[in-house]
Symmetry: C2
DNA sequence: ATGTATCGAAACGAGCCGTTTCGTTCAAGT
DNA sequence: ACTTGAACGAAACGGCTCGTTTCGATACAT
């Protein structure tokens, strides 16, 4: 742990007045990440994070409403580095989406582990579900512009359901994450995108 | 709750000797199912099940090593009695797959709730993960015959990746289940299947 | 008749929950 | 200069669930 200007000589962080102490915020997020990395989701408790960060539980509860919000914050610390894809083609954008923001992103960092934990948490905790689903819906909506741009370029018909396209890509990525096959799925990205764009080769509808 | 021959007059089950009491086993599974139905995954604890079943906790721990094993046993009781789809067309088979074995099946019964819980549990418990992933892989492989039949009928090219088609359908269903949108997803089944079969309408690849 | 494994009930210590209280520290407002 | 008020860590609270242990009663197995 770094000794910042907000730390005292004895290594104990105290209040810096009537405002949030960024040193505590960082120490808590660092501790949360470390606990997740070392003990997994099973060992991830507010108590454990507070101990690790040498912070008080009320300090955590003051800034994060629950466990999940804290996990999401850990997740989002990783997120900001990569830019949103705009390769000029729909196919390129969707491949980049999987490679940079979904599978490839989860593969490289602790992020995949954290996201799995968040999804699992949301299956039993309504608060977690609300936070995750709101985040998820916002991300999907923002991603749908990929299809809008493709429509403007005349790449696809105006009638195409952009939300559905994004849903299919995200669904595939989620599923592979949740069954622990992110690495293998990376090699299937081209096929998935081609499938979403062109369907099954030689499809002839029969009655 | 049924009063069986193994129940005493006052409704209290007692030992029937040095062997497992089937009345207790059934009462515990019934109670586990009822707790899941009424309180959801969050309320599913060994304590709650024991209370509901009027059974002792040691009786549960004697026969099930942990929560997950008990959930898996509940899930096994729901094992799908529905026939495997063979409608004569690929489109019909995929729609039936979603309606009878995935979304529709999860929607009608408690099965969806249990399946969510098992998926969530598998994210932290390696034992649960092993069981789930084995089951999952076997189901997918069995389902791929849908595409094989379509190839034999000449509906799609021989080069089509059947495993990928199944993966896309299953992924969509999983995702909708995990974000609690099974009901809404039921109305999107046609669009999803059309997308998998035909891709994006009017797609023109640009370079 | 004896041995033994089961049953439900009850209690255990441990751990985490989310909250409250407390004394300290310091920025902002008066 | 002084007061107000918020944030800080520490500690303790009551409540819950955990998984285990103990207990007396039961009834099959030998």
């Amino acid at each position: 742990m770094e000794i910042t200007s907000a730390d005292t000589d004895d290594g104990v962080r105290r209040s810096i007045g009537a405002r949030r102490n960024p040193a505590s915020q960082e120490a808590i997020l660092d501790a949360a990440e470390a606990v997740l990395r070392e003990s997994g989701i099973g060992g991830f408790s507010i108590e454990a994070v507070a101990r690790r960060a040498r912070a008080g539980k009320p300090t955590i509860y003051r800034w994060w409403p629950n466990r999940t919000a804290l996990m999401l914050d850990v997740y989002q610390r990783f997120k900001n580095a990569r830019g949103f894809p705009d390769t000029g083609t729909l196919r390129g954008d969707l491949v980049a989406l999987l490679e940079n923001h979904l599978l490839g992103f989860w593969k490289d960092s602790l992020c995949g582990v954290v996201y799995r934990a968040i999804i699992a948490e949301a299956q039993s905790d309504p608060d977690a579900a609300a936070v995750l689903f709101a985040y998820q819906a916002e991300r999907k909506q923002a991603t749908a512009v990929i299809v809008d741009r493709a429509k403007a370029r005349g790449e696809v018909a105006e009638t195409v359901d952009g939300a559905l396209i994004v849903d299919m890509i995200v669904s595939f990525a989620w599923h592979q994450l949740l069954i622990g096959r992110v690495d293998e799925a990376m090699t299937a990205i081209d096929g998935v995108v081609d499938g979403v764009l062109m369907g099954c080769a030689g499809y002839q509808r029969k009655e």
